[in-house]
Amino acid sequence: MSENTLYPGLNLGETHGEAHEQAESIVFGFWVFLMSDLIIFGILFASYASYLDPIGMAGGPGPKDLFDIKSVALQTGFLLFGGIAYAGVSLALKYEQGRAKLIAWLLVCAVLGAGFVVFEVKDFVTQAGKGGIPQASGWLSSYWTLVGLHGFHVCCGILWILTMIVQIATRGVDDTVKVRLSMLGVFWHFLDLIWVGIFSLVFLVPLA
């Protein structure tokens, strides 16, 4: 067992001393929250799968009427690149490459996340225009709840990134900021993981 790995996620490492020790229990606590989040998403996936039949669609518009596969591919791209961009943040933090680099990578993550949200909202508006509103059927209620909840998480993630940029600029990269950036990393990568489930099961499977 390496002393250098105390918790799941890219560890700060022993060179960070106090912050590395603190991160063990705090990041673990954050994982407990994420697992409760995972249960919520999992149950919403199960509801969506249950409504995915003619009875669940209740004569309303179906996947082939509403889903735009090109837009889904674009959103997937934004989120995948936004996720990998956080590797830049984690590595710049771990190897102490300076504030400017940290802020630059955080901005890349925020911009790519915002790109995702823009196309997702555009899709929601188009779908509502075609009669695909949440009240139309059980299937649409579960669709809006699941995809909407994920979109809300991404918005929270962007807000968190912007907050961290302000904190880095005002208080510098102290131990508290290091631990917070470690938690944000786990959160941001987790959203990417949930999106893999969404684009595969929510969008691709019904269109197959």
């Binding site: 067992m1 390496s2 002393e3 250098n4 790995t5 105390l6 918790y7 799941p8 996620g9 890219l10 560890n11 490492g13 022993e14 060179t15 063990e24 673990f28 994982w31 407990v32 697992m35 409760s36 995972l38 249960i39 999992g42 149950i43 996936f45 199960a46 509801s47 799968a49 249950s50 039949d53 009875i55 596969i69 591919a73 997937t76 995948l80 996720g83 990998i84 590797a87 590595l91 771990k94 190897y95 786990v186 990568h189 987790f190 990417d192 993981l193 893999v196 489930g197 684009f199 595969s200 099961l201 691709l204 499977v205 269109l207 197959a208």
Partner: protein, 111 residues
């Protein structure tokens, strides 16, 4: 752990292996994503498309857990972390799997 823990880590060395791990994860995710979309557009029976999309999704989730969230079965982190994740996933499997099974059984009886 393949390397003996001497208490001193070469930062240059570990940075290179971490960047490599992220790069491998990224390329794998990109290929699996493209694969899933390609399976949808390909001229295949529906069952095959669904199987391919689901397999690609599971593989990509494993890639994300390993390369981006750095969760590993090989030890390293404390036992509690792994137990937390495994316990949550087993609860989820019972609740989500049970819901889906009961609802699809009911739907089958209604047709």
């Amino acid at each position: 752990m393949t390397k003996p823990n001497t208490g001193e880590l070469d930062p240059q060395d570990s940075a290179a292996s971490e960047i490599k791990s992220y790069a491998v994860g990224f390329v794998a995710s990109l290929l699996l994503t493209v694969g899933a979309f390609a399976a949808l557009l390909a001229d295949l029976p529906t069952t095959w498309k669904v199987v391919l999309i689901c397999v690609a999704a599971v593989l990509q989730i494993v890639t994300h857990l390993r390369n981006f969230l750095h969760l590993s079965f090989a030890g390293g982190e404390s036992e509690e972390d792994m137990l937390l994740v495994l316990f949550s996933v087993s609860l989820l499997a019972i609740m989500a799997g049970g819901t889906w099974y009961i609802m699809s059984d009911l739907a089958g009886r209604m047709h």
